[in-house]
């Protein structure tokens, strides 16, 4: 109940600024289309209609059709499902494993935490695209691989923030008070520590979503991401790009959609950061 009320309070605060409000609308639109894609899509996204390839936007196909005559709007809507699945799963994976490793590092001694910090450094110094190429080269392209690759790439983000947050709170009087009552370390971490470091981590997660969307699109564009015929924003751009000489509509529609979604999540993330911690807003 309390969590719901707090969430509602923060969202209303996000919506108060122009950027935040716009971001919130875009985010909600993308999330809705991702969740209810089959209901929203006007056509079967994979139905080929060669007679109507490269159709300009009409009432029938409001965003036109691609080189196989597939309805662009429906493919975009279904592509949002892929984008959101990849983004949310990858972020969730990075958030959870990063937070666990970050908390662990903060609680360990300086020497014991070193391997974890080295791991973070190794991951962040490794170009994610090269990592993706290597993994796809070994295992072949698939959606779950994209999720894992992107998740691993983002893991140090969350790990470092979680560690820094825990380090500032580690000697806080309220944690000491719980220790004095006899609370176990696990109880202290889950009941008292996590709720207090969750804010910055959630903000970071929301700001990383556009990053994941673009990485996924990039990987799919290169043919390393989701497999055709599954509609991903990256593959849509790739398909449109190949037939750019015949029609600019598919590539434009897909790129604009990707751009708007990225912008929306970025605006939302920034407004969320300001709402959760006004001090951070001034620092940036």
């Amino acid at each position: 109940m309390n969590v719901l009320r707090a969430t509602w309070k923060i969202l209303t605060q996000v919506a108060r600024s122009f950027g935040g409000g716009l971001g919130l609308i875009i985010v909600l639109t993308v999330l809705c289309s991702a969740a209810f894609a089959p209901l929203i899509a006007t056509h079967d996204p994979d139905r080929i209609d060669v007679l109507h390839r490269f159709a300009a936007p009409t009432l029938e196909h409001i965003m036109g059709t691609d080189h196989l005559g597939r309805d662009m709007f429906s493919r975009l809507v279904h592509g949002s499902t892929v984008a959101m699945t990849v983004a949310l799963c990858a972020i969730l994976f990075a958030l959870m494993s990063g937070t666990i490793l970050g908390i662990l590092a903060a609680f360990l001694s300086t020497r014991a935490e070193r391997p974890i910090l080295v791991l973070f450094d190794v991951i962040s110094s490794f170009p994610s695209l090269v990592l993706a190429l290597a993994i796809v080269g070994v295992f072949g392209a698939s959606t779950s691989l994209v999720i894992i690759v992107v998740g691993i790439t983002l893991l140090p983000h969350f790990g470092r923030v979680a560690r820094a947050q825990v380090l500032t709170l580690k000697h806080a009087p309220f944690l000491e008070a719980e220790r004095l009552l006899g609370a176990s370390t696990m109880r202290i971490i889950f009941v008292h520590l996590l709720p207090n470091i969750a804010g910055p981590l959630v903000v970071l997660a929301s700001m990383d979503i556009p990053l994941v969307i673009t990485i996924e699109a990039g990987l799919s564009f290169l043919g390393l991401g989701v497999r055709p015929p599954l509609a991903s924003w990256g593959t849509l751009i790739q398909d449109g790009y190949q037939f750019l000489s015949q029609s600019a509509v598919p590539v434009t529609v897909a790129s604009v959609a990707l751009g708007i979604a990225t912008l929306g999540f970025t605006l939302f993330g920034e407004a969320l950061r300001d709402a959760v911690d006004p001090r951070l807003a001034r620092a940036h």
Binding site: F174, A177, E178, L181, G182, V191, H192, P195, N196
Partner: protein
């Protein structure tokens, strides 16, 4: 003092990495039902003393006995029962409450931690809130929504809900306005009678210590330098440091004002304490022996101890 002391610290030393000797050979007994005051300035080790008693810091050497059982063994067995027996009130009460939990949850936490039935516990909490003068609707509030005085009472409720025997209070009146500190001290004294509590009160407020404690322990640079019944200590301090410390307490009544003994110099660092008597660098009565010989804590009259070669009082 007859019978076994409830708490006995023997030869406790705490050395932090980097050579900081926070406590040096501290021996202290607290009798059941007594109220002991611990005074000293920064670096004196009074906070470390509390942290050793509550097992937040493990002593480098020495033993702590609780009711005749060594604390190290109790902890080694993984027995958290001693946490019920010794509770501590932290100095900053507002910061000692987990900020994302409601007051009702906070007060039930001790019960959950020790696996006590909540239904029976809740009625105890209601009774405690009433006893502590907390409004009934405070349970739904969060720590940042309550006043400093209320936060202190909530912290006391959290400590008392486990029915402890010992309460260690670190600066119980720090940060409280003069107009409300009396209320809190009265409350602590009443609770002591009702719950048969033993109190260790750490404070820099000498008036507080003088008014509510039975024995006073004075610490300087990690050592106990004087221990005596409070009335005797305030009437005739034996250690020159105690005398100087007591003289700094300003009084409103010009007739009671005593000549302030102003110590020269600063408090030396615990990393590199002075040779001989640790107080010799600031002592007005320093003699040659004080610079070289380390004084031991020795008896100075009935129930009094002092760590000084040439005490001002008590030894005839």
């Amino acid at each position: 003092m007859t019978g076994q002391p409830l708490i006995a610290m023997t030869g406790i030393s705490v050395v932090y990495p980097g050579g900081v000797r926070a406590l040096d050979d501290v021996t202290l007994e607290i009798a059941r039902g007594s109220v002991v005051g611990l005074v000293g300035e920064s670096g004196s080790g009074k906070t470390t003393c509390c942290r050793v008693l509550t097992n937040l810091v493990e002593p480098t050497s020495g033993t702590v006995m609780i009711d005749g059982a060594p604390l190290a063994e109790i902890v080694g067995r993984g027995d958290l029962g001693f946490r019920r027996r010794i509770q501590m009130l932290l100095q900053d009460a507002v910061a000692s409450l987990s900020p994302r939990l409601a007051v009702s949850t906070l007060v039930e936490e001790p019960l959950r931690i020790h696996g006590e039935p909540l239904t029976e516990g809740r009625s105890r909490i209601t009774e405690l809130f009433r006893r502590l003068g907390l409004p009934a609707d405070i349970g739904s509030k969060y720590p940042h929504q309550i006043s400093g005085g209320q936060a202190r009472r909530v912290a006391i409720a959290r400590a008392l809900v486990l029915r402890p025997e010992v309460i260690i209070a670190d600066e119980p009146t720090a940060g409280l306005d003069v107009s409300v500190q009396g209320d809190l001290l009265n409350l602590l004294q009443e609770l002591r009678k009702e719950f048969a509590l033993t109190f260790l009160i750490v404070s820099h407020n000498l008036s507080v210590v003088r008014r509510i404690t039975e024995r006073t322990v004075v610490m300087y640079l990690g050592q106990i330098i004087e221990e005596a019944p409070t009335s005797q200590l305030f009437a005739a301090p034996a250690h020159p440091y105690t005398a100087a410390l007591l003289s700094t307490n300003p009084s409103l009544d010009p007739r009671k004002r005593q000549a302030r003994i102003v110590l020269k110099g600063e408090i030396p660092s615990v990393v590199n304490p002075p040779s001989g008597c640790r107080f010799h660098t600031r002592c007005a009565h320093v003699r040659e022996r004080c610079r070289t010989d380390v004084p031991q804590l020795r008896l100075a009259g009935e129930g009094r101890q002092v760590r000084c070669h040439f005490p001002l009082a008590g030894i005839t």
